[in-house]
Symmetry: D2
Subunit: 366 residues, 4 copies
């Protein structure tokens, strides 16, 4: 057990609080000989960085990553990689009130109940800032994957904000980088901008659904029964702040399908089996099929809002709380690169586990 | 890493195939001194047992559990508890055809691709029979919970079959034991009976959604960041055969809520904080609030159906497959006791982890 | 954490008590496609089996192993292998007295203090019978090693009984199978026979030192810093009942060496580096050098003896205890195959870990 | 698996290389509410610090620890504690030659063979500098132990340098702080000073044996069979650089004892059982007895010496190597605080595990 670690062979431990001097990730078990410098990691952090547009927190953090160990002359050595990001824009005075009261819908109260104390500055360990460390670790995973499985691509995007979904008929991955929501639907992007502006002005926030796909994943990654690829993905995505649901392939909608409709029928292609559909989201029995791995996760609305909500204080008095400070009106936006990072880490971990157990040999078909 | 284990301090390893001589679970880390005999476990297995009504597989298995180790004079000794269930009604001849072809939507093909071989008899390790071992381990967890946290109750039930949901206005837990679907809505039970009969006759199958709640869970169980109670629940439930989604509290619906609506406001009750709603499903920041822990999971339709589906053979020839044998038209039904068992094991594990780290002390409010 | 498991990718969990219905080992993470039947495992168990000569306990156990899962048509499938050994010669009446008193030097008292109860029949879980499960698991590891690294050989033997060592000048591995002590020195075998006879007649017992070597281990297996091959070997060997010390290479004697003497100087051979000595015992910095891996462990004398010893009862009364029953006068003898089994499991585990992380690629020299 | 982590509930991951910008330890699972600042940790680091006298490396490092996370207002919060120590006195030019040649007896060659590359500056990850991170983590463990088990004391000291032991008749713990060797025998201290001076002048080095005792450990800590307290101690101590043997209690000498002599007879004292001897070193069946836990470990001589030794280069040429640079003539000296730190971490971890599984309840005697 490690409360703050995930992964088995490629193992990531994150540490640090929102308003401490720094936060980071220790990456253990990284394959050796992989080209890696800060320049390979920083671009992924820049995508998650706060303060880039009016839809995210106005806290200004450079989120500059330093590699403190585990590389030599620009290549990984196989020893632990320490990734450190210094905090530079803490303003702890913003948080004096919530030290005494618990934000409804926030981890303030459960941390207090579990540990008997908590670091209230910016939410301490429960802050979404922790996800910067995940993104940094994901950058390492991507560098390794680029070398081990060059064709593998991981892409995240929003498919729902509040009650507003996208139109899959307009789905265009090119659009993702063109709007502040990473939404692959230009029309939705416009609509959501107005919608979120209004919400923010009314001192409110909203949830979201993010989809992450991995293409080029070799068949045979994962394992039964508790070492399933989807089981580990579920754990990894559910561990992201504010996530309340994880779906693989059809997800919840699979319940409404019949066996006839849900069967991903198989034909032979020139390089092996091909599937006529992908209800399974690329995973059968916990093991990858070679189709796209497709996962979705739902993020609840930010609980730190300017609308007063009823709550209690540490000393047990009833009160109303308005959360000032710099908060994302839709924390789901910045969860997109985080979801990608978790997908990258989980897939790499399972590729390593698989070659450990099986040597990476594959049962042929045909 | 253990591919076939879950849990940290209360650790369950299951083993066995559908048509081997036996299957079972090794339970390590069980607290000592807990009253435990086969009679404490068998009732939970009897609920999951196949062949009990026309809606489940007609395979006849007594599913009789034997405790081979870890107890002395009817009490746990703190050493590993081996739970063995012998298979008695294997009919491997039923499966000769699928040894050569891959059932679409089934783990046949991925096992073959990963391991280069597979046990085709009844699906081998990927069979839903593996879940009997989970239910047996869940019986041990329940016995421990009954001693450690007497008020804790875990209840599972179906809330959706195919596209048919329940009416929450008619929700009645008393109904669960009155119908073959464990559905807390008497009207739905009648409707689903007809619906499933028709599906079965048309050689089809269907998915389902199961909800599991745990009441009486103390506040403060769980941990940030990757040791979250909901993260472990997600992994545990996603590891159940055929599960494609896991939700906590509002789940996917949380995406459509605003922060104002999603806040579970807090007031002071006579014994501490009380909440005016439970959108969070009893978990904030990965740690229990003391409210009901509410999880849901979606089960896809059984892939073994009598309707022909296109597929390929091991030697790469295209073919059509009709899966004979004895299969559940809605495997979600028998997933109800399995979901309960996973909830029991995960909650017990986190109770033990919590008292390990914190001594079980709690930060007071008021 | 699993209290009753060891290994990382090749993971063994043992279960069962001395006088329960059965005991066994669950082996998870075994590579698929390896030829394996009971006939591959039984010979190793037969070596450890009690009652084979007058120097071991007279308990008669067939120690017949059954594979309950994880193989299909004589090959491993990659899923958990359950190895079960039924107990057939329990005589629990022998143990009525020690249920009330604690044998000095035995785990009776600490089990009682930790768990509040214990299974006193034959020592329950603390019995040396548990090691049968290790030997069975070691048989699986050997079968896998035979396929992965055909030249690898693991050999255990006694090098000391009581204060009597062997003469390394007479060292002859051929002798191991010629005497009841697995001692590679024919003279010592004769001497020890007389010595042990006398001890047994005087109602006493004695300790031993066992050496286990593995030849043919590829260079590069193991890892810094806490994943060291020698660190895992130390844990594995120290976990064997009654072991009080573990040495690698020179072991304790390394303390008395100077750096000049201890340096294993290196020359180039036709196939790479060769060493002029092996003080290191085949491991540098936790990673194998390609030389023989050499480990030794010391086993204390059996604590169950017929000579009366002072002790206390569960109710706190002072008393004298004579342990009747069937006990080994030198439990170290039967520890030889156990040490071999642990070596086999640890080396296989590290071979799998290594190919997981590095792909099994090796840095060339020359 | 984590190659660079140890512990289960109290889990330590170290990172960093000898000549990188920094090194450190991430401590996960620390109990909350424990008073902890840098001032609680620094004194332990100061004991291990290089350059304090002529018997250790002349590298000058302040070894100043910074707590980057996991505390708030001077108390632990239960979240990961990041301990960072910056390297300030790297002189990598010293190491240019060993980048091309492998020091005999050093991990240079195995790192190269495993990873295909290595950081040669100061030995990189294999440097004894890594042990600073252990000592820092041990400081955290001690702070927790001071609160949980106030009477517990952990003391390390040297009992052998080269072939020179101590005289147990002169054993005096007060002496430990009076000499540069932490030897509890004033006469030995004088003798060793001369001995080591001579060795250093003759460009040689020497091994050592260190003993670490923990008094005040409650009975009942540890677990069978692979979760044994002594098994974890063996792994932890064997993981320290240059360690080649670990002993518990009598250690290797237990082999030469008879069962009559080795039995630690038990009498009743006013507060429970008392033992007439402690051959067991405080551990029976892997579980603490309440007596002093006694462990010893042997450290081989430093392999970096000024005497030329035969070796090969990366390109496979035979050569002779003289290791310049600043090295300890007896690295065992600075291993004393490291051994203490490992003992502290292992014991705390097992105390937490025990209260997790059993609630810390104890079976009474009398």
């Amino acid at each position: 057990m490690s409360f703050n670690s995930f992964g088995h062979l490629f193992r990531v431990t994150t540490w640090g609080e929102s308003h401490g001097p720094a936060l980071g990730a220790t990456v253990d078990g990284c394959p050796p000989g992989v080209a890696l410098t800060e320049a390979d990691i920083q671009p992924w952090l820049d995508r998650r960085k706060p303060g880039q547009n009016k839809y995210t927190t106005q806290r200004r953090e450079a989120d500059e990553v330093r590699i403190l160990s585990g590389t030599y002359e620009g290549r990984t050595t196989g020893t632990p990689i320490q990734l450190m990001i210094e905090n530079t824009d803490q303003r702890s005075k913003d948080y004096s009130e919530i030290a005494q009261s618990f934000r409804p819908g926030h981890a303030d109260i459960t941390y207090h109940q579990k540990y008997g104390l908590r670091d209230p500055r910016g939410g301490g360990r429960s802050s979404a800032r922790e996800t910067a460390a995940r993104v940094a670790a994901g950058g390492v995973a991507r560098a390794v994957l680029a070398q081990l499985v060059p064709g593998l691509r991981i892409t995240g995007y929003m498919v729902q904000m509040g009650a507003r979904g996208i139109d899959r008929a307009r789905f265009d991955l090119e659009e993702i980088e063109q709007n502040p929501f990473w939404v692959p639907d230009a029309e939705a992007a416009k609509d959501w901008a107005t919608y979120l502006d209004d919400l923010r002005k009314s001192h409110n926030s909203v949830g979201a659904v993010i989809e992450v796909t991995a293409s080029g994943v070799p068949a045979g990654i994962g394992a039964p029964v508790y070492g399933k690829l989807d089981s580990d993905l579920a754990a990894a995505l559910m561990s992201i702040n504010a996530v309340k649901a994880v779906e693989i392939g059809e997800g919840i909608a699979a319940a409404a399908l019949t066996g006839v409709d849900n069967a991903d029928e198989i034909r032979m292609g020139p390089d092996g089996p091909v599937y006529l559909s992908n209800h399974a989201g690329g995973i059968l029995g916990g093991i990858s099929t070679g189709q796209d791995v497709v996962a979705r996760f739902a993020v609840k609305p930010t609980s730190s809002i300017l609308t007063p909500r009823q709550t209690v204080t540490v000393s047990g008095e009833e009160t109303e709380l308005v959360t000032k400070g710099r908060h994302d009106p839709c924390v789901g936006i910045r969860a997109v690169p985080v979801g990608e990072a978790m997908m990258a880490c989980v897939i790499l971990d399972h590729i390593l586990l698989d070659r450990g157990q099986t040597g990476g040999l594959r049962g042929r078909i045909g």
